[in-house]
Symmetry: D2
Subunit: 342 residues, 4 copies
């Protein structure tokens, strides 16, 4: 039994981490970290969890650093400091935030508009999609778990870029997310009166997951990948649906595309191709990713539709999947391969 | 490993049964029964489940009767025939339908307006609330799992009636259910356009769960219990919230009420008292029941608010909980004590 | 054309007031008041309205007091000061808040826990249900528009109390509201993640609309009326459904009840009896109130189900209906008698 | 006062037509047509409307043909027969269906897979976007009101194609609709359990509104327009959001784009440009269309986001807007320029 600390325990991803780890045969949660909720009981922030009498605590590098693994589910920019404070303690780290996902100081500056506080770290963290980077993850003690949108876009595109089946530029990713993707704060934008019965695009041309997608997709092809990314907020709690448009290279058939995808993921428990465009309901609650492929010969465009649960495969589930590899467990240990319906 | 058959596999309760049993250490699903969906793959009706290549089959008494346990998640009135066909085969039965919940032919006639086809069976089935009837369930080979509404109403009221803390008549149960409580048919009443952004009462004074509540509550007190029950349909998938009004007997204090409840359920993994009125979100996805108690001395009325997931504690979860007792497993084996949020 | 000021223009009720008044043949909006939104354009707070270039302004007693009518859609406790500042200016006032709804200083103290700042005003404001208090409203220059819950409960009960068909005590009002009933603030309780796909009771035994119901119902019967009121929040934007339980007096038949209701409201454009329990969808968007009646002879209980749009008949629509009477217009002028579907 | 017949009165668009016409100063509804609901009262299918005692009737060419205007809100393929039966009677027709929207028999065959029954009619019907084809509509007695998706896509694109600011090919329209866009039938696809809390793409590469978009856009530019269209179903009742991607021609600036749009629609009551991407909530309930424009110089792509209410500007509202022109009323007569919030 390995010991685990969860930082950011009061958020949605933190709650899912605790739920998965509490039911995991290999990990025991020994530290629940929080900021404004420090001192509260777990049940006061997560009434749905058992063991609700546990107390949330402020970050303590000694206590956290003595855990075998530290999961960080903190807001953007908040992971770097505590991560550096425990590096060297022997703890392995899975960071669900965006601080260590990019590969260069320049890319970070472009994406976030500020200098990275520890630029020498960039590029040394494994990028946590186990189906694509399993070996790096297994041998690393520092994993940057991907963003929810990038997971939904990178998984179906990677095999196609590797095999040269689509052009690396001109990719358009048009995505929808449920409201939990925006976190758990009491902002005007997250009011029921604003979200329910309405849809909207947001951060058009400006969302920070776009550079992340490009940085990861770049690793599968020689030339630079360019993506135009438009996220939308839709009135539901969980789920991401990404509809991706790419230009097939000359001669590419739908069969080529499907074969490339299938051959990369045939051994995967969680990633699966479907013929009909997937509904997010089919994956919500599970660590699954479903994708369908559609070739429009009329306009020479490949349309890909992929679906995940943003809090599971897009966050807490994938983080535990990484930890499984880092500690020698079966990749799917303690993770749901079955969703909820309805 | 005991073998299990699931009849009514294509419905919502059937899907949850399969999900729980597939992940259970003690049961292996060997037969999936369906009517109109017979011949289809599991994935075509439950795309959220794994093992989707399994085929649904029409009822076959020999095959079903050779399973160690048969779960029946069939529409009202459809359980009696197949149940009788396999009684004597050695299979134990957990019926999630209403056919064997009432205790007398007269009560059945009053509730359903037709004669029961096998009246001699009535009264010989254990009523499947493990926290209240655990011994009968453990020693029985035939269990009638309760309706969702009765579960939410009977669990908090039973200890109060036993201890004489409330009057047995004048009870009002005002309940709300998510749409999954009405099943999975494509009726006008279940259209998104009808349910979304609207609430309504239905079957006012006529819902068949009212006689069931009275029949079960009668077992805890000498005189007849009378309940007025008003169900409402609210725009959500899962969850039941029951707000129950009862008249305290002279001298009853809130402390008496809470103590009576706590002492009956103190050993329960799933039933728990809360101080603030519970949200259904706190229990959805779990086999939990939460209840709060509020005494209005001004009008001499006790107000009880209870919350369950209608498909878990109100159906499939409780059915598996019964089966656990019938086969000697720990009561909570394979059942979620933690819900989903959001 | 009479001039109108709207205080609290940035809220939901304020927005509906502006929409109704902008399309009214008899009123012209000349002042839009706001606190934290003062200085902003109307379109920045109500992008759904036309004339969005109008500017919200802080309260100015001279400017507001020069309007023929002032609508106040302010938070609880915030109406009294501005109302007193303009009384005597010649403006008529319709207050959508709760400050002047109760009739005595003692009742106000009991309900709100503080002394009323201008107790001499209490009892001198007309209570704004036009179908019941039309003459007082027409002849008054100060109208306290009712709360949303009281409207839904008082309208169906009043004729029954007047005719002695139900007992004045032991009334239970079990109500559900959409989230707009809780206003437009960015509180944790109003997050999409909290409200969507969940229901809960709130302010059990403590909601301030209960004393208001009793105070108004008292006017229809000699003895004191007592109500137990339980409000619930359900995942929708608009609509209130109240399920009310009352004890029929000896000899009361369902026909008596329906006749009493029909005879009071036969001339009403907006209040109507239905046979089937109404869905809130049938009234949302309109100024209508629908009610159905169901007599349970088994438990001697009358069940009433009533539905309104909390922002229209429960707030802005009823306020304009009052103003119509105060200024000699037809009661239904400028008000929707047709709802939205879906 | 002109007389009006509404065919398809029991559907959602039919209900909105009746609501608008009942409150219109120039039209009086004299015939309500229905098929399976013939013989029922209006209130039984539209409980939200007043005048609910009116009876729905089967199609009668003499009675319908004696109305000054006939609105047809029928399923695809069902308009042609009744339209031909009343042509020549003197009635003007506004068809909300798709039967007469395309311009050639070949295009119809390509889109619908069957021959048009009256191919000689194709091309002789005005296409009913008043802001673009106002003169043809005003002088025509036969108007084909546009589909909901095409309205949202054509309105923002037309001025850009006219001015040569975007390439006519390579356009991608990625749209979301609320469930009312799929009509009012009790199909599995429209169950609450399927739509609520889930999103999905449907009819990928196959939706019939794509040929309609191309046919209309072709009229604004010399070369052929090609569109790739992906519709999505999202869990809400009303509203369409279209996110459109187009390639700017060399030298095109965002200012050029916005100026072209503004100059075409500056006199419009309903079509308006916004800076921030619009939420569908801002237009629901109104006949408005809002659009925002965003130029990505990095990938040389113009992103357009447009929002309408599919049942108003996308159906019944636009149909009445056309009739206003056909009968010499002000274009906006009887139509809401203000939406609902929330």
């Amino acid at each position: 039994m390995y010991t685990a600390a969860v930082l950011g325990a009061s958020g949605y991803a933190g709650g899912e981490l605790i739920r998965f780890l509490d039911n995991h045969i290999g990990f025991e949660v020994v530290f629940l970290g929080a900021n404004t909720s420090a001192g509260k009981t777990l049940s006061s922030v997560h009434p749905q969890l058992s063991g609700g009498e546990r107390i949330l605590r402020t970050f303590d590098p000694d206590k956290v650093g003595s855990a075998d693994v530290v999961f960080m589910a903190l807001p953007h920019g908040a992971s770097a400091e505590p991560a550096m404070a425990i590096l060297g303690s022997g703890s392995k780290i899975v960071d669900l935030g965006s601080d260590f996902r990019l590969d260069t100081a320049q890319r970070y500056l472009d994406a976030y508009g500020v200098d990275h506080p520890f630029p020498e770290q960039l590029g040394s963290w494994a990028y946590g999609i186990p189906e694509l980077f399993g070996e790096e993850i297994a041998s690393s003690d520092r994993v940057a778990a991907p963003g929810c949108y990038p997971t939904s876009v990178v998984v179906p595109l990677a095999p196609l870029l590797t095999d040269g089946l689509i052009e690396p530029d001109g990719i358009i990713a048009d995505s929808m997310t449920g409201a939990s993707g925006a976190g758990r704060s009491s902002s005007e934008a997250l009011r029921f009166g604003v979200i329910d019965e309405s849809v909207a695009a947001y951060k058009v041309l400006e969302h920070r997951h776009r550079p992340e997608m490009e940085r990861v997709l770049d690793t599968f092809v020689d030339s630079d990948v360019s993506v135009l990314f438009t996220p939308h907020l839709v009135p539901m709690q969980r789920g991401i649906l990404s509809t991706v448009y790419a230009t097939p290279t000359p001669g590419t058939t739908l069969h080529d595309v499907e074969t490339a995808f299938d051959s990369v993921y045939e051994a995967s428990v969680f990633v699966r191709r479907v013929v009909e465009p997937p509904h997010t309901r089919w994956v919500v609650g599970s660590n699954n990713l479903l994708a369908s492929f559609h070739l429009d010969t009329r306009t020479n465009t490949l349309v890909i539709v992929s679906a995940i649960d943003n809090l599971v495969k897009g966050a807490a589930g994938q983080a535990v999947q990484c930890a499984n590899l880092m500690f020698g467990f079966e990749e799917s240990t303690g993770l749901p391969a079955e969703g909820w319906m309805p």
